[in-house]
Symmetry: C3
Subunit: 168 residues, 3 copies
Amino acid sequence: VTTVESAEERLVRMGLTIPSPPPAVAAFQPFVVWGTSVFVSGQIATREGKPVATGQLGVDVDLDTGVDAARACAVNVLAQLRAAAGSLDAVARLIKITVFVSSAAEFTQQPAVADGASRLLIDVLGPAGAHARSAVGVASLPLGTPVEIEAIAELRTTPSADARAGQE
Amino acid sequence: VTTVESAEERLVRMGLTIPSPPPAVAAFQPFVVWGTSVFVSGQIATREGKPVATGQLGVDVDLDTGVDAARACAVNVLAQLRAAAGSLDAVARLIKITVFVSSAAEFTQQPAVADGASRLLIDVLGPAGAHARSAVGVASLPLGTPVEIEAIAELRTTPSADARAGQE
Amino acid sequence: VTTVESAEERLVRMGLTIPSPPPAVAAFQPFVVWGTSVFVSGQIATREGKPVATGQLGVDVDLDTGVDAARACAVNVLAQLRAAAGSLDAVARLIKITVFVSSAAEFTQQPAVADGASRLLIDVLGPAGAHARSAVGVASLPLGTPVEIEAIAELRTTPSADARAGQE
């Protein structure tokens, strides 16, 4: 019998804790489920509610810090997906992420920053984590964090109305 | 008998007039309907075809003006949704908006600007208006308006082919 | 008998060659197919793997060069769609494109740049190419190219599992 490691099992092996999902900071939902599709609102680079860094790539944030910020965004995306689906094992496929990187005009390594998120998402979700992506350099982001990531994913089944009402 | 106020009834009560939808300013459609999904093209901050303001948050546009510009974008999104659906009462759910805010590097209150749009959309659409959102600071926007908003929504039913052909 | 020219036939008439799709430059997929939907990752302005230009609109890239860069992005989007669908004739509808234009704060002609892509996509795909669009000015883009374009499209049928496994 072949046993395939699940996303939740990978988290345990990786020693990675996914926190409670960050609340939306304003008048919107952290995610919306429609049918089996989940749209995750833009997640900024926070840990325990605090920005992991502030500033711009190419000005006062170096590449390693940008990669770490992208990882923090990805963890927050996973937290929202788990809240939406009940378990990361219920994520059928991560479809697309958009990675906004606060950038000076001359900074053009947005893909290297975004890879911090892409690698983490693939490590946790496995084959279900292979995703399309856009990475662009923007002028500034909420709270001054250097990275913001939004996501679209597909769930294996539509969550129960109770679960959705409780989580949205 | 409980009567639930509809979106079109809310507009009347709020005294809010939704104009004819702005035409696309170039070689594309103001919205595309596929199945029951509607993709609304980026709507800039215009009223009666003129920008409500020009410039950047953090430079020459203050927060109140930015919030007002976001409201103007949201009205244009509603105008497109009504054109796509025939009536705002036919919108089953606003799924996601992306709010692009023309921003200086040091301006980080994009969520406060975007709330101008989110609050209006929720006020008009009611529970169907609860949406996912990303808000980012960009370098500049068409016609120099400070805000641009795109949207994805779900309709209750697929519009008739006649209606779609007439409106797209 | 009315014969309707197909997208692949239009390419031949236009003398336009769609190259092999550019590989993803990092840890993600160039496209993801889910059901009949295709999400194409952000395509930068390259030809034969090299940027067609570098810099920003309003600084060191003029409008004509920006339009040409948008066309290059559109060709790369078509290359990905063909890889996803097997043939451009299998594209039922281009739904939405997002056009990111590297821009100085005072450059506001993003729609004129984006039209380079929109016109090409409509010329090739015909009625199936009519799309929703957002065009925004960003701070910088990967490899320094002046334009990046992502796309969502619908296919006539779900590609076979074999084709998808081979192409993703």
